[in-house]
């Protein structure tokens, strides 16, 4: 019997190695696997490359340092690959102090690099970023009369995903805008770990409605995380 459910955060995060590339889903607070990120902080892997849409908000005085900011503050992140590095965030300060590298990527290029990794496409050309700082150091070729930039696939050693509901095969559905990066990161992770709000019996999620089939999923943890918080 296939059963991808694990019973604890420790079991979910087991075996993540130093130096791993970790794909972290979520857009704003929605569809973000906060419990798994806390688990990664606890688990201890270091020298990580973290791939996520936004590398944290500007840190306010007296406010707890959480999530990606906490991981960076602990010195565990070698590099972030992101579309938003905000001034005043813990991540931006770490980059300024040369304690961490940052690669800033157009959001569509980020999504396509992740999708390509999951689909076995090692690289692709895109007009996005041509003639800008993003193209520096990259091969540029003309296709259809437009300059296009060579971009590489971005696979993860680990992908952290949040689902709305899951079954024991690892089939997943998402809720509303909580889908975002989750399906493509699930495809691009060599080890895909899911936290899910709800657990379903096999067959309860209809074949017509499953968004991520379980083939892309390795471990599932039930975390009744509640509604996403409003962004500040």
């Amino acid at each position: 019997m296939i059963d991808k459910f694990v019973r604890s955060i420790a079991e979910a995060m087991n075996g993540i190695r130093d130096g791993s590339t970790v794909l972290m889903a979520g857009f704003g607070e929605v569809g973000a696997p906060h419990a798994l990120l806390d688990g990664l902080i606890e688990q201890g892997a270091t020298g990580l490359t973290i791939v996520l849409n936004a590398a944290g908000r500007a840190q306010k005085l007296g406010e707890p340092v959480q999530g990606i900011a906490r991981l960076v503050e602990l010195g565990r992140v070698r590099k972030v690959i992101t579309t938003f590095l905000r001034s005043g965030s813990v991540a931006a300060e770490a980059v300024k102090a040369a304690r961490m590298e940052a690669e800033i990527v157009p959001q569509g290029t980020l999504a396509e690099r992740i999708r390509a990794a999951g689909a076995g496409v090692p690289a692709f050309f895109t007009p996005t970023g041509a003639g800008t700082l993003v193209a520096e150091g990259k091969e540029v070729r003309d296709y259809g009369g437009r300059p296009c930039v060579l971009e590489l696939a971005l696979p993860g050693d680990v992908a952290l995903v949040e689902a709305w509901a899951a079954d024991r095969w690892g089939n997943l559905i998402y809720r509303d805008s909580g889908r975002n990066f989750n399906p493509i990161m699930a495809m691009a992770g060599r080890l895909t770990i899911v936290q899910t709000h709800h657990v379903c019996d096999l067959g309860q999620l209809a074949a017509n409605e499953i968004v991520t089939p379980g083939i892309f999923v390795d471990r599932v943890l039930h975390v009744a995380a509640g509604d996403p918080k409003l962004p500040r």
Partner: protein, 219 residues
Amino acid sequence: MSDTAQGFTPLGRTGMAARVARDIPEGWYVNLGIGIPTLVADHVPPEREVVLHSENGILGMGPAPAPHRENPWLVNASTQRVTIRPGGSYVDHASSFAIVRGGHLDLCVLGGFQVAQNGDLANWSQSAADVGRQIGGAMDLAVGAQRVWVVMEHVTKDGRPRILERCTYPLTAARCVSRIYTNLAVLDITPDGLAVVDTVAGLSFDDLQARTEATLRKA
């Protein structure tokens, strides 16, 4: 302000958003960027079916929810809570940017720091040396949408022109903008340069040219 003393009133943010909305026809698929572009949605009459796209995977996005009717699972690209209209749908992030990069959007309305007379756009960073860098989806939208309109103040807070011969800030994309909406005028970027489509009442062509580095022509 001295502008009012000179016999014309610049549009406010709402006025600029309403002016853009006037030009969006029924049936278009449109992405609205962060800032003033987001306000454009409030000025498209509900009976005119314009389908709004949001980068985080929403087609058919609706207005802000009524108080106490918020759905915490539904935010737009600015992470504000929004609604979805009947007929709306959700896609993953790669499909959302396939909509953008595949040329499926009729229009994208973006904010800007600077626009050059050849349509170059700078809207994500004021210096190549900035540590804080916020590209988001702007580069994809600028390159991928069928039309890119920019809505911005005509000059900077300290009165320097934003519509230039060449952008001095890092580019978002080259030769992508087709139309500029400012608090003073609407300008088309054409193969023959910048053409003035209309201006606020009381503002002369020469007044407008004095606030614009690039050379203007009457449409």
